[in-house]
Every structure is written in structure tokens, then in C-alpha cells.
């Protein structure tokens, strides 16, 4: 049986949508988020949209942060079930 898991990056999330971080492709981004207390498995909710969709603001673990789009594209998410 094949199971497909819908995967997308943090940069592709729409405002208000939620997702769970499944992997982070850049070690640097991973470290920067870890320092803020955000790790794989954390639920992220996207905040409003900035012009050009960059930077990207989201809330995870009660912390609201923003990341540049380039960095947010390294953060892969799966849909919250």
C-alpha cells in the first residue's frame, strides 16, 4: 500500500494555515530555529502576508518569528492531520 504524504515548504503556506515541520534541509536554518526553541515536529501557523511574500512570519511554540523566504524554503512541512 502506498501512502502519499503531502509535503510543501514553509514559504508555500498560506496566511492562517498550519503545518508541522517534517524536515529542514539547511543546517544553518535548523540551528537558527533551534535557538528559538523551534524544532522538527513543531506546529507552525503562518501570520499575515508581507509584500512579495518575503520575509515570512509564523508562530510556533508560542514564539512568533520571521524568516527570509530563501530560508523558509528550506523548511519542509506536512499538513496537520
Amino acid at each position: 500500500m502506498k501512502q502519499t504524504i503531502e509535503e510543501f515548504t514553509l514559504a508555500a503556506l498560506n496566511p492562517g494555515e498550519k503545518g508541522v515541520i517534517s524536515r529542514i534541509n539547511s543546517e544553518e536554518v535548523e540551528l537558527a530555529l533551534l535557538k528559538m526553541g523551534i524544532s522538527i515536529g513543531a506546529t507552525c501557523q503562518l501570520s499575515g502576508r508581507s509584500p512579495l511574500r518575503d520575509p515570512i512570519a509564523f508562530t510556533a511554540n508560542q514564539v512568533k518569528v520571521f524568516l527570509r523566504k530563501k530560508d523558509a524554503s528550506e523548511v519542509w512541512m506536512s499538513r496537520l492531520s
Binding site: S26, E27, E28, V29, E30, L31, A32, L33, L34, K35, M36, G37, S39, S47, G48, R49, S50, P51, L52, D54, P55, A57, T59, N61, Q62, V63, K64, V65, F66, L67, R68, D71
Partner: protein
């Protein structure tokens, strides 16, 4: 302050309310100094606990973890991680934002593993209630093995208990949070001995982040790194792993201590962001706030500035009247007091600007500005955080350059520092006012004062020059913004006015302390260069005019005329004139003569000195030293009339529009501020200070040259 009373450090994540707690605990006892060698504030206060027990309390810059990512964070890490550091604390109070506990516990667990006694403070207890966040404190304290105290710095609750615990003997937990990877254990032992610590983790930290211990242990650490086959690459991976393990453990602790978040819906803060960080309204509001700030700097600050000018002038006049006429009296009044007056007159503008910046930071709004501006600023090699120093640069570059320290990326910080002096600071205003008035009539254009429009134009010129130069630096340094930039958007809160007051006071003090030595020396040197000359030329002039003035039949006007002539002849015989004449061939292509040369030399100390020097050269009262707006305007007109009458050797007027424009451009760009240079040298070192001086001077020269040649 007794150096041997115990030292307690406040440590916390940014925005945890740490500084508020420090202010509440210390009142106005605090002494702000610098950490040795760097200009990061070191806030210290001696406070009394119970039973006449005294401790020293230190506020350290906020940090997310013990692995620093900016200059500010580095100092906190160095102090905690290096037992040899003179500020290494005896105890640490970890201040946690009660609404972001996992983040706070991450930091707390790291500090605990350093085997420094820890007290954990749950700050913002009032907000926890508001957001229906609850936790069993006793349970948390029991699991962690450290005292946990709920405090609200805002409502001043829990402080008594905190003080009591701060004074008691604290045990160091012997259960490390994290197990050090086995291959490292053997190499740690010898270093532990020489560092005189029993914390494995402290030494492990030193291996992963060798900078924290300083040069003394460099060889030892490098040797151990080699032995354990540790590369930078693996070090980074180990750091990630460590944080992951800690976060995992923290999660478990939170569950065990019954941590619950009651509310799920959007908080007020999120609702505010829907407007303040909106893709259109956000910018509209930011621009409106900027306009308010300008209004404050230019209109509201005028009153206090006039008062200060009047005051220095009266002190100077008073001293001139009561002290005997002697060179020391002239040195005191024309040199030292004039110099100090020149500094403190800028305090109102600087205080206003920092008032706004601090309110914006305290309230959490500044992070939204960074969020809104980051994308726009990035192509120029800036960070969103550069907006703050650039705004500050419109009052004064000195404190603004100090504010760049929280920009984590070194290149972005460097670029920001390099272009901040191009922003039109308040010291340029008197220069611009004089020069614009020389060839622009005070007429209204579309309802605006024409001169005001030119002035505004010069602010834009400064801003665009900053953008262009930043872009050039970005290209020259081949900089690509490839470093990760994460920033918190903290919950909005009412600014604590006490914090705002303290910060404004400290920034104003920073400015005075940053410039007074330079200004004092320069004022004395300038006074000497103008008051003395080689050989006995000056005495000859003096003698000649004493004879002329002693004639009986002189009218009052004639006396004034002769006095002025004498002054300008004396100046011509001074050392300053020699310097101006030496400089003349260089500045001739810009349309300047040796007299302007003198003013360029003197205004290297600070731009506004230009106006004062012009008045000395042309024997008029310095308009900025006169009492009252009307008198100043009159003084300015008198000086302008005199300057307009100045002729070149061939009889044509010296101050053509081309020359005036060339001067304006020169002052818009040139590095005419010793103190900015001094601050840059402190922040970035000799090399970058030299680069700044060179590029600004060359650019100013070329731009002024082009302006003059095109116009004439």
C-alpha cells in the same frame, strides 16, 4: 562599590523583560559602564537584600542560547562560559518570559550545566494569567533542582521572595541535563583542571565554541580539538544535536509539571499585527510615525536648544566680564566653553530621537519595522535591522553606530556602519541653514518655504547617497545575503516609561562621553591655531592697530570697523591661515580659497564648527551663539552680507552659487566629524575607520568638484 560582594547576573532570552526586572530591583542605583575593550553596556547595581546583605547585580544582554549569533550575545556567553572573566558571576538569575517557557528552559538548562548556581524567575506572571497559561511551579522547581519564583516586574509582585532567595546559599545541581558524547570525556579532564571548574559541559562548550575562552587557552583547546578530531563542521552538528536533545527534555519537563495553555484564539497582539504589519497599512503607519519623529526633532527640540545656547552664551559672557583679560580666560571661554556648548546643544534632538526609538523597541513595534523593511533594504546590503541606526543617523551618527551591534550578520553590520555618517545629522543643519540662505530667497513655493524644500532635499540626498554607497560596498565585498536571519516578533506591550527614561538618559550620556574628549582637545587646538601665529607678525598687527585705535577723534563706528579689520588681519597672521594657504591648491578646483580652507580644517572636528569659523574669519558674531531667534536671524544675515561682499583677487565675488553648492555637497558627504571616526574605530577597528575616512573624503571631493565645474 565593594568588589567582593557576590555578583549575580541576570540572564534571559531577548524580550523576556529582563531589563525591566533589573530596573525594578536596582532603582536608579545602576552604574553603566562598558565591558573591557568593547562598547557594549555593562549595567551594574549594588542592591540590599534582607539582613543588610549586599550583592552586585549585573544585567547581561539577552541571548537565545549559549551559542552566540551576534555581538551582544557574544558578551553574555563569554561572561558565563569563561571562569576567568572578571565579570563571571557567582549566581545567575535566569529570567523566563512565562508565556514562552520552552525557549527559556532551553537557555536555563545550558546555564545550569555550567554548574553556576541558578534561580529561575517566571516573569510576566500577570500575562500568564491573562493568557490562561498555568504550570505547577513547585513541581518544576523539584524537577529542575533550582528555585522557581513567579514575578511580575510590572506589578512588582514576587520581588521580596526573589531577593530572599538571591541571598540564600544555593546548591549546584549535580544532575547534568545533557550527557557529553563519550569520545570527548577523556580530552576534557586536563582542561577542567587548568580552568578550575568541575563542569564537563563548560569545557565541552569551549571545544565547540573556542572563542569564548580567549587567547589564553587557545593552544590547549586546539590541541584537544585535534585529539578528539573535531572539525567546525562536526562542531556545528553537535551544537544542533545538543539543542535538539535539550528541547526534547524541556518538553518532557513541561508536560511533567502540568504546563497548559488555555487559550487558542488569536491574541490581541496578533490582531494588532493584522494592521501594523499589514502589507499596505503597515507602511502607511510607519511613514506617519517617521513624520512625527521628524516633527519632534525639528520643531519641538528648538525650544530647549535655544535655552541651552542662551545658557552657554551667558556663562561665557559672565566669565569674560569677571575674569581678567588673559589668554587663559580666552582659552576657557572661546575654547572650552564654546566647545562644550557645541556638544550639549544637540542633546534635545538626540533625546527626542532616542525617546521614539526606545518606545518603538519597548513596545515591540520595532521588530515589525524590521519585518516590513527587510526585503526592501536587502538589495542594498542592509539588514532590516539597519533601519534603526539609519533613522538614528538623522540625529547623530555616534549613538547610531553603537546601535548596529544587534545586527547579527557581520557584513550587513559593517555596511550599515559605513554609510550611517551619510545620513543628514543635526550638526549639518546650521551649515545648511547658512549656505542655503546665501543664494535661495525665502520665498514660498506651492505653499512651502523654498528654503525648507531645499533642506528636505538634502535629507533625501543623504539617504540616497547612503543607499548607493551601501550598494557599492555590497558589490565590492562580493556580499550575498546568505546567512540565516531569524527574528522574533515579540508580543506588543505598553512601554515601561521608566525603562524609556533610563535608556534616553543613557544614550544622551553615550553621546556626550563619546565626544567630549575629542571636542575638548580640538577646541583647544583650534583656539590656539587661531589665536597664535609664527614669529611676531601678530604682535605687529596688534601694535599697529593699538596705535590707530588710540587716535582721539574716532567715532564709535570707526572703532568697530578698526576692531574688525584688526581681527581679520590677526587671523591672516595665524597658524590657521598658514594651514588654509597650504590647503588652497588642493581645494581650488572646488572653488574654495584659503579662508574656506581654514573652515574645512576646523570643521573636521565637527561640522557645525564651520559656521563659527566663518564668523571668526569674517569678523561677525557667530549667529548660532546669539540669544533668541530674531537675533540669530539678524546675525546670519550680517554674516551672509559679509560673505557675499567677499571678492576674489580678480575682483569678482567669491561666493557664487557654484561655490555655495559645492560647499553644501561637500558637507553633505565629507567625514567632518572626529567623534564618528573615533566610534567607528572602536566598533570596527583601525582598518575600517581608515576606509570610512578615505572614501567619504574622496567622494565628497569628487562630488563637490563636479558640482562646481558644472555650475560655473
Amino acid at each position: 562599590m565593594k568588589e567582593n560582594s557576590p555578583l549575580i547576573a541576570l540572564v534571559g532570552t531577548p524580550n523576556s523583560g529582563k531589563t525591566s526586572l533589573f530596573n525594578v530591583l536596582s532603582g536608579l542605583n545602576q552604574k553603566v559602564g562598558n565591558f573591557p575593550g568593547i562598547t557594549i553596556d555593562r549595567k551594574l547595581a549594588e542592591i540590599s537584600l534582607t539582613n543588610k546583605q549586599k550583592v552586585r547585580l549585573m544585567d547581561l544582554p539577552g541571548t537565545d542560547s549559549l551559542y552566540p549569533s551576534s555581538q551582544d550575545e557574544k558578551i553574555t556567553c563569554n561572561v558565563l562560559k569563561n571562569p576567568d572573566h572578571p565579570d563571571h558571576p557567582d549566581k545567575v538569575v535566569v529570567v523566563a518570559d512565562g508565556t514562552q517557557l520552552s525557549r527559556a528552559l532551553l537557555l536555563c538548562s545550558q546555564v545550569m550545566d555550567l554548574k553556576i548556581p541558578v534561580i529561575m524567575v517566571l516573569n510576566m506572571a500577570d500575562r500568564m494569567t491573562e493568557e490562561e497559561i498555568s504550570i505547577n511551579e513547585d513541581k518544576l522547581s523539584q524537577i529542575l533542582g533550582v528555585p522557581v519564583i513567579s514575578v511580575s516586574a510590572l506589578k512588582k509582585s514576587g520581588l521580596k521572595k526573589l531577593k530572599q532567595v538571591m541571598g540564600s546559599d544555593l546548591e549546584v545541581s549535580d544532575r547534568p541535563f545533557m550527557r557529553i558524547p563519550a569520545p570527548f570525556l577523556s580530552v576534557l579532564e586536563p582542561i577542567k583542571e587548568s580552568l578550575n571548574t568541575d563542569s564537563d559541559y563548560l569545557v565541552y562548550q569551549a571545544l565547540l565554541d573556542p572563542e569564548s575562552l580567549g587567547a589564553k587557552y587557545e593552544d590547549l583547546i586546539n590541541q584537544a580539538r585535534e585529539e578528539a578530531k573535531l572539525t567546525d563542521e562536526t562542531a556545528r552538528r553537535l551544537i544542533s544535536n545538543e539543542l535538539l536533545v535539550r528541547l526534547d527534555k524541556v518538553d518532557g519537563i513541561l508536560t511533567e509539571s502540568k504546563f497548559r495553555i488555555g487559550r487558542e484564539e488569536l491574541s490581541l497582539s496578533d490582531k494588532m499585527d493584522e494592521i501594523l504589519a499589514h502589507k499596505i497599512w503597515g507602511y502607511v503607519i510607519f511613514i506617519a510615525i517617521l513624520m512625527l519623529v521628524f516633527q519632534a526633532i525639528f520643531s519641538w527640540a528648538e525650544g530647549p536648544m535655544g535655552l541651552i545656547e542662551g545658557l552657554t552664551e551667558s556663562i561665557s559672557t559672565l566669565l569674560k566680564n569677571i575674569l581678567p583679560k588673559h589668554w587663559t580666560q580666552e582659552l576657557l571661554t572661546d575654547g572650552i566653553i564654546a566647545g562644550f556648548g557645541g556638544i550639549i546643544v544637540f542633546i534635545p534632538q538626540i533625546a527626542f530621537l532616542f525617546f521614539f526609538i526606545t518606545v518603538m523597541e519597548e513596545s515591540g513595534y520595532m521588530a515589525r519595522v524590521v519585518y516590513l523593511m527587510d526585503r526592501i533594504m536587502r538589495p542594498f546590503g542592509f539588514s532590516g535591522k539597519s533601519v534603526i541606526p539609519l533613522m538614528g543617523g538623522m540625529a547623530c551618527a555616534i549613538p547610531s553606530i553603537m546601535m548596529t551591534r544587534n545586527i547579527p550578520n557581520r557584513t550587513e553590520r559593517l555596511i550599515t556602519v559605513m554609510v550611517t555618517p551619510l545620513m543628514s545629522c543635526s550638526a549639518r543643519i546650521p551649515v545648511y541653514t547658512l549656505l542655503i540662505a546665501m543664494f535661495i530667497p525665502s520665498k514660498s513655493f506651492l505653499g512651502f518655504d523654498q528654503r525648507g524644500l531645499y533642506m528636505t532635499g538634502l535629507y533625501f540626498l543623504g539617504f540616497f547617497a547612503a543607499l548607493l554607497v551601501a550598494f557599492a560596498f555590497k558589490k565590492a565585498l562580493k556580499y550575498k545575503s546568505d546567512r540565516v536571519f531569524v527574528m522574533e516578533l515579540p508580543t506588543y506591550r505598553m512601554p515601561r516609561w521608566k525603562n524609556v527614561g533610563i535608556t534616553v538618559w543613557q544614550k544622551s550620556l553615550d553621546f556626550i562621553l563619546g565626544v567630549w574628549k575629542v571636542m575638548l582637545v580640538i577646541s583647544i587646538v583650534l583656539w590656539f591655531l587661531v589665536a597664535y601665529g609664527p614669529g611676531d607678525q601678530m604682535q605687529q598687527v596688534e601694535q599697529e592697530y593699538t596705535e590707530l585705535l588710540s587716535a582721539d577723534n574716532l567715532t564709535e563706528d570707526e572703532v568697530v570697523e578698526l576692531e574688525m579689520e584688526k581681527g581679520s588681519k590677526m587671523l591672516e597672521a595665524s597658524y590657521a591661515a598658514i594651514m588654509g594657504k597650504t590647503l588652497e591648491p588642493v581645494i581650488k578646483p572646488l572653488g574654495y580659497d584659503w579662508k574656506i580652507g581654514i573652515a574645512l580644517i576646523t570643521s573636521f572636528a565637527a561640522r557645525e564648527v564651520f559656521v563659527g569659523t566663518m564668523s571668526i574669519i569674517y569678523q561677525q558674531d557667530d549667529p548660532d551663539s546669539l540669544d533668541g531667534d530674531e537675533a540669530q536671524e539678524k546675525g546670519r544675515i550680517a554674516l551672509i552680507d559679509r560673505m557675499r561682499a567677499e571678492k576674489k583677487p580678480d575682483g569678482s565675488p567669491l561666493y557664487t552659487p557654484a561655490v555655495v553648492l559645492s560647499l553644501i555637497i561637500f558637507f553633505a558627504i565629507a567625514m567632518q566629524c572626529m567623534s564618528t571616526l573615533a566610534v567607528t574605530q572602536k566598533e570596527l577597528g583601525n582598518f575600517w575607520a581608515a576606509i570610512m575616512l578615505t572614501y567619504l573624503t574622496l567622494l565628497a571631493y569628487v562630488a563637490a568638484f563636479v558640482a562646481y565645474q558644472v555650475m560655473s
